[in-house]
């Protein structure tokens, strides 16, 4: 499999009147063709800003300070606005969290879908309409010939998200970025959308980046996972690595703080103490150092390098250093973080 997207040391900041908010502080990851990559993190971890940086949608006062975003070998950070417009919606497209605000309420679905198709592909109106209907059918909208004439408010939340997905896929993009696509939906509707994404992943040729705060959603669809915290990447690995052999204390802490549906006995949750860092004044060392149960002197001073653990897994934690003490750091067992 060849590399589709390579993000190298991405740093994106927002220059507000309060000072520089370092939303992404050096993120690097790669995405292969046809792969589904999950980026998981809490609010403020920099996962959405990473996606917006790839899309070239960082607006004033935000700025990509450093780093490269290589899409098929081309550095997108050097692209002009018009070059990016050619790419967006065509080669790379995005679905947002709130399907109500991301569709234009005063145009019909047909209007909005045909516009995208005709903007990027050299096809006539009738042809575009036909393709739009095909896409709506693909995402499971019943009676697409009729429904295409409706306005967004005539669809329910789940149906709107399907329309968004149809629209995003209409030009056959190579990369689809889904930013919390199911967060605004109820669980039963979320299950429908996740099933749809799993089904589409087989049928379309696009690589997908799925951004979410929910480890459960990640477990449903992703092959590879990036765990972000405080603007930095903490751990990367395959689904197996992250769920069954997490190496970073943050990933581990996240696992322990979620109630397990499977356990019969009622056990206490083990929370991560403290609160996420303020990215206006990010800590000098590891962003997780203030909340980590294994903090050492070095953690407070220097940001840890990224250690390779296996062919598929990396962890940005000083504990991986050969000089660090060995700690029991697995999902089961390990000491509490209270």
């Amino acid at each position: 499999m060849s590399t589709l997207l390579e993000v190298k040391n991405l740093k994106t900041s927002f220059f507000t009147h309060l000072g520089e908010i370092q939303a992404v502080r050096g993120a690097s990851f790669t995405l292969n063709q046809g792969e589904v990559l999950g980026i998981v993190g809490e609010s403020g971890s920099g996962k959405s800003v990473t996606a917006l940086s790839v899309m070239g949608l960082i607006e004033e006062p935000g700025k990509i300070k450093e780093g490269e975003i290589l899409f098929e070998g081309q550095d997108l950070t050097r692209y002009s606005n018009s070059q990016m417009s050619e790419l967006r919606g065509n080669e790379i497209s995005m679905i947002f969290q709130d399907p109500m605000t991301s569709l234009n309420p005063v145009y019909t679905i047909q209007n909005q879908m045909v516009e995208v198709l005709r903007r990027h592909q050299k096809i006539g109106k009738a042809e575009a309409r036909k393709r739009a209907i095909e896409m709506l059918r693909l995402v499971g909208i019943p009676e697409p010939e009729k429904r295409i004439k409706n306005y967004p408010h005539e669809f329910s939340g789940g149906m709107r998200q399907r329309v968004m997905i149809a629209n995003a896929l209409s030009c056959g993009p190579k990369l689809l970025i889904a930013d919390e696509p199911t967060t605004a939906l109820d669980v039963t509707i979320q299950a429908q959308i996740l099933d749809l994404m799993n089904e589409l992943k087989e049928r379309i040729n696009a690589a997908i980046i799925l951004i979410t705060h929910d480890l459960g959603v990640i477990a449903e669809v992703c092959d590879h996972i990036v765990v972000m915290y405080g603007g930095s990447i903490m751990e990367t690995g395959t689904e197996k690595d992250i769920f069954y052999n997490p190496q970073h204390p943050y990933t581990n802490g996240l696992h322990k703080s979620i109630p397990k549906m499977t356990t019969e006995q009622k056990s206490r949750l083990i929370p991560i103490r403290g609160t996420p860092p303020d990215l206006l004044h990010p800590p000098a060392g590891c962003p997780f150092s203030a909340r980590c149960p294994h903090t050492m002197a070095v953690c407070l001073e220097d940001a840890p390098p990224t250690y390779g653990i296996s062919d598929t897994q990396t962890s940005a934690c000083w504990l991986m250093d050969e000089k660090a003490p060995k700690v029991d750091n697995y999902v089961s067992g390990g000491k509490g973080i209270e």
Binding site: A191, D195, D214, I218, S257, P259, M261, P271
Partner: protein
């Protein structure tokens, strides 16, 4: 549930909701001439025993929050009874209700909207104390310090304003405010859904500790089933204004009987990929019908995989399925 609470729970329930209904009037048509009703809560009954946590789950729009708000009379009930300690709260005049306001308190979902930005933490927590248990300013301040310590905040936080706190800390202030007047029942309306995953567990553990220390009874309203299972002793599942199933939380997860409960449980994404692949999911078709003029018969019939003709004609009542296990379905 602590041992003591278990003994107490054999006694009469602290709160008994009987056939509670809450309709909102909508006016549509020319010059608002046509009246219709949004039936947010349409005849639900359950009881909460002293010292236990009763979880109320359901998807958005199912009426779970309206139920909570009607119980504490933020909304006036359209019909039915809310018996608290043997007294029907729905018909009490405001003056006679006041002592009960002290005994039932609420924690709200949004820690950003539920605290007055122009009041200090002391004022926010102290307001209720001043109204219900008037005392000297100094005595009140001591009580406030004690409450702050209980919810894991420091003395020096007392003179700050809400904007100086993070979401999790604000929720702690909201909890301290609810506890300030010494309530017996606390209605927790999605108290953790606005918080980050890593902070949610902190607040849930604190709620559990406070329950043990102060002998509280909780009505815990949430849409996150895994968290509800974790915190609740018994759970009620709501759908479109009615209760579908009520039983102990272990029982609900190990032996769900209602088709909606089954679908809801299987829809939860489990943070365990191998388990996810093994589980066969019941995916519900379609969307929740509108609560304005809801369907006749079982509310769930339009999406139910096992619905038969009777389901579209007759509304099923809650029936006993096992010990302390009730479900409203014709086809079980």
């Amino acid at each position: 549930m602590s041992l003591e609470a278990k003994e107490l729970s054999s006694q009469s329930p602290l709160l008994e909701v009987k056939g509670l209904r809450k309709y909102f009037e909508l006016r549509t048509g020319l010059l608002n001439s046509r009246k219709s009703y949004l039936k947010a809560v349409d005849g639900i009954s359950f009881e909460i025993r002293k010292g236990e946590t009763f979880g109320l789950v359901g998807e958005s729009g199912c009426g779970k929050s309206t139920t909570g708000r009607t119980i504490i009379r933020l909304y006036e009930a359209t019909g039915g009874e809310v018996m608290f300690d043997g007294v029907d709260l729905t018909t009490l005049p405001e003056k006679e209700l006041r002592p009960y306001r002290k005994r039932i308190q609420m924690i709200f979902q949004d820690p950003y909207a539920s605290l007055n930005p122009r009041m200090t933490v002391t004022d926010i927590i102290g307001e209720g104390i001043q109204i219900h248990n008037p005392s000297t300013a100094q005595a009140r301040q001591e009580v406030i310090y004690d409450l702050l310590a209980r919810v894991g905040l420091k003395r020096e936080h007392a003179n700050r304003y809400p904007h100086e706190f993070s979401g999790g800390q604000r929720q702690r202030i909201g909890i301290a405010r609810a506890l300030a007047v010494g309530p017996e029942l606390v209605v927790c309306d999605e108290p953790i859904s606005a918080l980050d995953v890593s902070v949610q567990a902190q607040v849930v553990n604190m709620l559990e500790d406070l329950q043990d220390d102060m002998g509280l009874t909780y009505l815990f309203i949430a849409h996150d089933l895994s968290m509800v299972k974790h915190i609740s002793d018994r759970i009620g599942v709501m759908y479109l204004g009615v209760l579908m199933e009520v039983c102990g939380s272990e029982e609900l997860y190990s032996n769900p009987t209602h088709p909606y409960t089954k679908a809801l449980l299987s829809a939860i994404p489990i943070p365990d990929p191998e388990l996810t692949r093994k589980n066969k999911r019941v995916v519900l078709k379609g969307d929740v019908p509108s609560p304005i003029d809801p369907p006749v018969g079982c509310r769930f019939a339009s999406r139910c995989p096992v619905a038969t003709s009777i389901c579209r004609e007759e509304t099923p009542e809650l029936r006993e399925m096992g010990s302390d296990h009730f479900a409203a379905c014709h086809n079980i």
